[in-house]
């Protein structure tokens, strides 16, 4: 089996974010690392985040930093990754790519202990960069420029210190003196020698300054001093002329200002009043804002509270350090303060947000200061505060993030054409169920009912130069309705259009006149109101029309074509007639190329399954240039100029290709390239769009021509970041559509469906999925679908949180306290009003502030029944007494009257630290009542461990409890043990069954294939895996095959060899005798690994599904970073050969951006086996043309054919 791996949705979580002017000039931009993806974001004028460029680097980005050479206008990006190389990138605005400026190898690849890449620090003046590892190694590179002002990089200077753990590094701002880097280090050499543990207890963290002597080209340890043992992060303090220099050391509970030859200035970080005493407060992200006159720091704690830190400083150094409560936003991985007054918050889980500063926290608030620091016998006196609503920030945009996907299932509960992906995302109060549908999201602007059932709709401008449309023209079976677009849309009768007949086409013709084509003629309405009417000869009627702004072709019944052109005076003149052999099915004229008078091509589709290209040139007018036969009569034709390729921010500096698109009656969209000179058709590709013949309409997307295809669902063909994409829209079936532009809506679509007129715009271009989010209460763990009742049952649990009642009580208390305070001011009435408002705004929404932290042994959990259609929770059971749910399944016990029951595995008082322990485990059995909308507890059965896996098996319940696999039957008061097997190595995390086989996944030891013998009532393992795999997801593929994913980011398939499988099935004892003998303490048979691939992200769910109607199945996976990918099995050997060769050439010609070897990355833990990386292959169109041709030559194909193959492979999946 060969698989094709393709990422359907790139990771949405963010590892690290930096801001700067990467394209030069004054525009503020953000570069984010999303694990293996590097993207450039820019907030536009409206404050919406736009992704300009996104590239997969086939490596693991661990750190990012930006620097600017003195006097330069542009920032460079330094990337620390797992490649064992330092890479400096520059954003190329013209080509919209990241250019690699330097790549210097310094060590082994991989995320290792002593290979630098984990930390990056930049000299604030951009003269040097330090790259560090978790332990021992630190390298300094000197950055400079040569005579041509190009960036140069020196050979590395070592600042290693062995037996030292490094916690954080940063540059120290010391103006133009020698660059200094600061590091928090811990020396463990003594602790390792001393087995009594005394030295380990005394080990102390140090803050060390490393000085780079630019004259001697040497790095030396300049200064080292003890620092608080909780120190975890360093922040550069501006120096030189801007500030006192030095660093802020963020430690647990404290922020300390340190500098060489300066006393420590220490202040406590204020604590939330409800925080348990044993918990510290840790700073997890920091941002600096620096202006000419002032600077401040924003530090965010692990609970989401942001503090503004300011320093009072003078000639004699820093005198006071103040920490003031600023605002609370969800915990971030990185924060970026943009010079334009925005704060970009890259959330560690859940949606990212862009905030605008309303104030910079100058108002009085809870403040802790170094001068008021009180030290008592119990330590430093804490400062308390209560989080409040946003005061200084206001959120203006957010970017959706699925991180982390906890579970995912694909089903068609809504009975739509394609199945939906149900994914459990997020954590704690920010968790949600997201329903993903392939396609673009629509925002509907207006729906209005019309008097009859319309057949068609057009929009027209009054003049070519107008920005907006003037009329919407709707055609009915026997009439035409004209609506004028102004502040409102209303019917008009003075437009000059004939309203007593249906229309076939309405458009602007020439510069300023309108044309209406109806079955009996052409009505030409001049700008001054004169009307010219052309009537059809005899009793013939017009059946089809094709036109662009200057040319019109009509087809009469019987197959006669008549060609008109607009002459110099704006008059419509008949030019030529042509008799076709039969009736015309459809027509289209190519758009007039810029600077020309006419277009040369007319496409005519006939009922004899052909499409002809006719010339419209005066010399060979109506000559057939080429003929294309198609599989079914064409229904609709559209010429589209596609300027797809790399280059420029809009991808437009490439010669345009003219595509002829044809919607065929069998529902296929047929696309072929038209040679701009000869009119020859080549390079055809077809794609099934839906059950109805696609009708094609030209629209505009971001000012460029795009295509709307209306089949049983609408599709949009458009250009995004240089690629032509054909994506379904998540909208109902439409009959007819036209582009729509007014001052409320610049780029919309007006369409008719049924008896309604709809106006909508298309949002979030470039995304593969559109999502509907339903909020949940706690971290979702797993869920089951009930396909018949169309309901979901979700289990959610959170560690270290208070129960709902406790939270409610605490909240009430807080509001009462707050109310009391305000009461003191008097004015009762106002107070009450204010109080009401507060309730509405929900000033302490958990989503923003998080749940209050409780002791780590407290658990909250709930079981929820959810109706996805109405997004309504029909039943929510909060578990009591510290119980948390971990597994769920539906089960039908045989010969019982209850029907389908729900089994939920829970644990009470589970603790991981210092040792995994629990009070008890339980299996709850619930009965569905009220047609599945509610649950009723039948009984619960105590078990000795955490039941992490449950599954129905032959009318009984299989449970994996710790290392025991046990079969239960339903009793009156509890579950009854029937059979068990205790021979599993660690902990069972997944159980799947098929016929009499049971596939058990162990947390650490991969899969075990088991069999149940009913007559002997015995469970035994007949095969297992030889490789230790820390399973995070598993899926049953077929009788002998399992797919699994491990903690390290690998996906693999194992298969039982055919002969072994047959032997077991034929053996009357079912291999039992062999089992009793065993082999090497394991099962007698071993499964074989048939597929292995490193995804580079922890895969948390696997599922086999087909996302397109009638398409083949593929395996879909969801990951912790919020990406979705697919593994598609190849069906032919030719494809395997083609793609493996393409992959090979791509590896050679286009090595990954950040220096990781592609093969090495995909084989990071185990050698890659039989998986071709589609993500790499899909980078083919981004190569320069000559390289594309070179690779294509090697493969004996043209670049166009390769693009077509890539497109086909993608279309098989989505």
């Amino acid at each position: 089996m060969y698989l094709y791996n393709l990422t359907l949705q790139q990771a949405t979580g963010i590892v690290s974010a930096i801001n700067g002017n990467f394209s030069g000039g004054k525009i503020q931009e953000i570069v984010v690392a999303r694990g293996k993806i590097l993207s450039l974001l820019r907030p536009d004028e409206l404050g919406k985040l736009q992704t300009l460029h996104s590239v997969e680097i086939f490596g693991c980005i661990r750190s990012l930093a930006q620097f600017r050479l003195t006097g330069a206008q542009k920032d460079y990006i330094v990337v620390g990754s797992d490649s064992g190389r330092i890479v400096i990138l520059e954003y190329n605005k013209e080509k919209n790519v990241f250019d690699k400026v330097h790549q210097e190898t310094f060590g082994k690849s991989g995320c290792r202990r002593i290979v630098p890449g984990q930390y990056l620090a930049i000299d604030p003046k951009g003269r040097a960069v330090m790259i560090g590892a978790c332990e021992k190694q630190k390298l300094v590179y000197v950055l400079n420029r040569d005579t041509a002002a190009r960036l140069t990089i020196s050979s590395p200077l070592e600042a290693h210190k062995s037996h030292t753990i490094v916690y954080s590094i940063c540059g120290v701002d010391c103006g133009f003196d020698n660059p200094i880097f600061a590091a928090i280090e811990l020396d463990y050499s003594e602790a390792d020698q001393d087995s009594t543990g005394v030295a380990a207890g005394e080990a102390q963290k140090h803050l060390t300054f490393y000085e780079l002597d630019l004259g001697l080209n040497h790095v030396s340890r300049k200064w080292s001093e003890q620092v608080d043992n909780g120190a975890n992060m360093l922040v550069t303090v501006p120096g030189g002329g801007d500030g006192p220099s030095g660093v802020l050391v963020c430690a647990e509970n404290f922020v300390i200002y340190k500098n060489q030859g300066h006393p420590d200035i220490r202040a406590v970080i204020p604590r939330r009043a409800d925080l348990p005493e044993e918990r510290g407060v840790l700073i997890v992200s920091a941002a600096t804002h620096k202006q000419k006159s002032m600077f401040f720091f924003l530090l965010q704690t692990e609970y989401g509270d942001i503090f503004k830190v300011t320093l009072e400083h003078g000639n004699d150094g820093v005198t006071e350090l103040k920490i003031k409560y600023f605002d609370t936003i969800p915990v971030t991985a990185s924060m970026c303060v943009l010079k334009t007054g925005f704060l970009f918050a890259a959330s560690e889980f859940g949606n990212h947000a862009l905030y605008q500063f309303q104030a910079i926290g100058d108002d009085p608030d809870v403040e802790s200061s170094s001068s008021t620091l009180m030290e008592t016998e119990e330590g430093f006196q804490p400062v308390f505060f209560q989080p409040r609503g946003l005061k200084n920030l206001v959120r203006i945009d957010q970017a959706e993030s699925l991180m982390p996907i906890m579970d995912m299932k694909i089903a068609n509960l809504f009975e739509e054409e394609t199945p939906q992906i149900y994914s459990l995302c997020g954590r704690g109060p920010r968790s949600s169920l997201r329903i993903l549908r392939p396609g673009l999201a629509i925002s509907e602007m207006a729906v209005s009912q019309l008097p009859g059932v319309p057949s068609a709709v057009w929009t027209v401008k009054k003049n070519v130069t107008d920005a907006f449309d003037a009329y919407i023209v709707v055609s009915f079976a026997n009439a035409t309705l004209v609506l004028s677009i102004g502040e409102t849309v209303e019917e008009v009768s003075d437009s000059g259009f004939l309203d007593t007949t249906p229309s076939l086409a309405v458009s602007l013709i020439g510069d300023d006149s309108l044309m209406q084509i109806h079955p009996n003629g052409i009505r030409h309405i001049r700008e001054d109101g004169r009307i010219n009417e052309w009537r059809t000869p005899g009793k013939r009627t017009i059946v089809k029309v094709g036109s662009n702004g200057l040319q019109v072709v009509i087809a009469l019944s019987g197959g006669e074509l008549i060609y008109f052109e607009v002459d110099m005076t704006g008059q419509l003149m008949e030019v030529e007639k042509h008799e076709m052999s039969g009736d015309v099915a459809c027509l289209d004229i190519a758009p007039v190329p810029e600077g020309r008078q006419r277009s040369r091509f007319l496409a005519v589709g006939s009922y004899d399954n052909t499409i002809r290209i006719l010339s419209l040139d005066p010399d060979d007018c109506m000559q057939v240039l080429s003929v294309q036969s198609v599989s079914s009569p064409p229904e609709s034709l559209l010429f589209l100029e596609v300027k797809a390729s790399i280059g420029g921010e809009d991808g437009a500096d490439h010669p345009a290709n003219l595509f002829l698109n044809a919607g065929l009656q069998n529902g296929v969209l047929f696309r072929t390239v038209v040679d701009m000179v000869t009119g020859q058709l080549s390079d055809s590709r077809s794609r099934f769009l839906g059950l109805r013949a696609p009708k094609l309409f030209s629209v505009k997307v971001r000012g460029r021509p795009a295509m709307l295809c209306l089949s049983s669902r609408p599709w949009l063909g458009y250009i995004h970041q240089g690629h032509f994409l054909l994506t379904p829209l998540s909208y109902e079936t439409l009959e007819f559509a036209a582009s729509f532009s007014s001052d409320q809506c610049a780029e919309g679509v007006v369409a008719v469906a049924g008896d309604a007129l709809r106006v909508f715009t298309i949002e979030r271009l470039g995304e593969t999925f559109n999502e509907t989010a339903i909020p949940l209460r706690y971290t979702p763990r797993r869920f089951v679908l009930q396909p018949k009742r169309k309901l979901l049952v979700i289990i959610e649990s959170d560690q270290g949180s208070y129960t709902a009642e406790e939270r409610e009580a605490a909240r009430k208390e807080f509001f009462e306290a707050a109310g009391m305070g305000e009461n003191g001011n008097g004015n009762m009435n106002q107070m009450e009003n204010g109080g009401d408002d507060e309730d509405k705004e929900d000033p302490l929404s958990d989503e923003q502030y998080g749940y209050p932290k409780a002791e780590s042994n407290k658990w909250v959990s709930c079981i929820r029944v959810l109706d996805p259609r109405t997004a309504a929770t029909t039943c929510l059971l909060e578990l009591q007494d510290n119980e948390a749910a971990f597994s769920v399944c539906t089960v039908n016990f045989h010969d019982k009257e209850y029907g389908t029951l729900l089994a939920v595995g829970t644990a009470k008082g589970l603790q991981f630290w210092p040792k995994r322990s629990l009070v008890a485990g339980f299996i709850h059995i619930y009965r569905f009542i009220e047609d599945g909308r509610s649950l009723e507890l039948l009984h619960k059965t105590q078990v000795e461990g955490v039941p992490l896996a449950l599954c129905q098996f032959q009318g009984r319940l299989l449970a994996g409890i710790g290392s025991v696999l046990r079969l239960y039957d339903l009793g009156k008061k509890r579950l009854l043990r029937k059979c068990e097997n205790k021979l599993f190595p660690n902990t069972i995390v997944s159980i799947q069954t098929y016929r009499d086989r049971i596939y058990v996944g162990d947390i650490q030891e991969s899969f075990h294939f088991c069999k149940y013998r009913r007559d002997e009532n015995q469970l035994y393992i007949f095969a297992d895996d030889v490789v230790p795999r820390w399973l995070t997801a598993s899926f049953h593929i077929d009788f002998d095959t399992m797919a699994g994913a491990d903690k390290f980011g690998n996906v693999y398939f194992v298969r039982l060899p055919q002969d072994v499988s047959d032997e077991i099935e034929e053996d009357p004892t079912g291999g039992k005798i062999k089992w009793e003998q065993g082999r090497l303490n394991g099962a007698p048979n071993k499964v074989e690994e048939i597929v292995q691939f490193h995804v580079g992200d922890v895969v948390t769910s696997l599922q086999k599904a087909s996302l397109i109607p009638g398409g083949g199945e593929c395996v879909l996976y969801g990951t912790v970073m919020g990406s979705l990918g697919a593994l598609l099995p190849f069906t032919s050997r030719d494809d395997v050969d083609f793609f493996s060769h393409l992959e090979m050439h791509m590896r050679q010609e286009h090595p990954p951006l950040c220096g990781r070897d592609h093969m090495g990355y995909r084989s990071a833990y185990f050698p890659v086996k039989d998986v071709i990386d589609g993500d790499l292959c899909e980078q083919f169109p981004t190569l320069p043309m000559d390289l594309q041709r070179k690779i294509a030559d090697e493969l004996d194909r043209t670049p166009g054919e390769i693009l077509k193959k890539l497109e086909e492979a993608r279309n098989k999946i989505i």
């Binding site: 979580g13 590892v15 694990g35 693991c60 661990r62 995320c111 290792r112 202990r113 002593i114 890449g117 984990q118 590892a133 978790c134 332990e135 021992k136 062995s162 916690y167 811990l186 463990y188 602790a191 390792d192 087995s195 543990g197 030295a199 380990a200 207890g201 080990a203 043992n229 975890n232 647990e252 840790l282 700073i283 997890v284 992200s285 692990e302 609970y303 915990v331 991985a333 560690e348 889980f349 991180m403 982390p404 704690g428 971290t779 959170d798 560690q799 270290g800 949180s801 780590s856 991981f912 903690k1047 390290f1048 980011g1049 580079g1096 992200d1097 922890v1098 948390t1100 990951t1119 912790v1120 970073m1121």
Partner: protein
């Protein structure tokens, strides 16, 4: 040192041991071995952000706190050097 010594297997090993922390040798005891495995693992968890996030979800802590915990001396130094509780 003679020229031949440089290519002698022992000196090569010594060189490796000095250069790459955690390279084993014949007299390695179980605690040294375990402490190396442990430090390698924690360094790997910290380097692979998705794995760090996975742990953070499991323990319901922020990713920053998880990273901090993995690097504290309670985990990286104490647990093995004083010879108690080796969970490998």
């Amino acid at each position: 040192m003679q020229a031949s010594d440089r290519f002698n297997i022992n000196s090569q090993l010594e060189h490796l041991q000095a250069k790459y922390v955690g390279t084993g040798h014949a007299d390695l005891n179980r605690f040294e071995w375990a402490v190396n495995i442990q430090r390698d693992s924690y360094a790997s968890y910290i380097g692979h952000y998705p794995m760090l996030a996975y742990f953070a979800v499991a323990e319901n802590e922020s990713i920053g706190r998880e990273r901090y915990n993995f690097m504290q001396k309670e985990k990286t130094i104490k647990s093995c050097s004083s010879g108690y509780e080796v969970k490998c």
